[in-house]
Amino acid sequence: MSSMYVARNPRVAARGLGGEMMIMSGRDSTLFTLNKTATILWQSADGETPLDEIVTRKICSEFDVDPKEALQDAESLARELASHEILQVSETPILPGHSGAEKSK
């Protein structure tokens, strides 16, 4: 199974507000808020750490969840955020400043 890498899309605007993350899409200025799990994913999305490692280290340590199920949910969430151009998703590490087309898994 290949890894998935996630990076914050540099086009967005973002700020934490009372434990939630407020994100404005760079595509059409649509506003989103991320829940606690999605916020962890967003904050950990450095483009270098594989998603499975983020899930193990940051999500499974915080929530009482099955690791396999948590990874599936995280992958699904990452793809959804990528569809809104909030995250970038790739099978290879994402270099800083990269804003080209995402390669979905």
């Binding site: 540099p10 086009r11 967005v12 605007a13 973002a14 700020r15 934490g16 507000l17 009372g18 407020m22 404005m24 760079g26 200025s29 506003l31 989103f32 808020t33």
Partner: protein, 369 residues
Amino acid sequence: MSGLLEEMTAKALSLNIPLNVQLDLTYRCNEKCVHCYLDHNDHGEMTTAEIKHLLDEMADAGVFVLTLSGGEIFLRKDFFEILEHARRLMFCVKLKTNAVLIREREAARLRDLHVESIQISIYSHHAEVHDAITLIPGSLKRSVDAIRFLKSQGLKVIIANVLMIQNMQDYPGVRALAAELGVECTLDPTVTPMMDGDRSILSLGVDSSALQQVFRDSALVGDADEFCAIPAESGESALDATPCSAGHSACYVSPYGDVFPCVQFPLPTGNVRRQRFIDIWRYSDQMNDVRSIRVKDLTTCSSCTHAATCTRCPGLAYMEGNMRGPSSQDCEKSFARTGIPSANMLAKKRAGVNLVQIRPAAIPAGAIA
């Protein structure tokens, strides 16, 4: 306002977070607009390092929407360095500019830095009218060219059209120009007094009959009868409401680091060169005084027919002498809209007295750390 934005604003209010800040980078300008409220001389603008430090503090304080304005922002040689820093901090950045200095290269850089929108002042679609307001020959052409460059980069542009005596008849033409360029257009019939309290430029503002014409224009307001309807009686919730976002979820910082509740509300609350931004926001006596005001606390206005629907600006009221008092310009708007005089207009008619200008109060010594 979208539902989610409304929710976020309510949350920011409950957490006392300044969600929106306008930061003027300079008061210097390459246009000399006849109605401008600013002193364009440089009295010691913040340095690049000071502004970057302030932006760091604002990000930590929770500021999300950062509007960079002036003066003319592109006159600062470090403008793009400041903008790059702001975007690294993930602010939603909006710009206000006359766009005269924006060419293809600048438009491309703005695209690369993902600014949310660029608001550009256009006074008329006729060069002779626009340029007579900016006092710069060729300025309309430069600004319109810039809009085209920005649009070609896929950027969101908003034309801001301030209505005055000189350009009153041209707003349909400006709206047609905006449509042709594929950009939004906003109309503002408010001329703001000079920041030092000089009210002479208010004579450039449109009169009541011109305001009536604007408020009855269905192209602007939708259903004119509904827009101009006699206001319903103010309920308890309207009287418990805050007058506007100034000091509640928004504030303004001048090029010299002075913090005010709003760009149109020159009540000094502190200076970021001497205090942390968040400390001014949270602890300034003046900011907390502004924050404490509810519609029911307003002298004259709380008993006015228009209390629930008036666009009363507390900053204009402050510049008129009392931030809890009426703003005559907004009284005129309410009257032009509905035909019903405001409580302030009736009181003045009874008293037959003129307004008294009161200068902004000095900051008490203890308010500065």
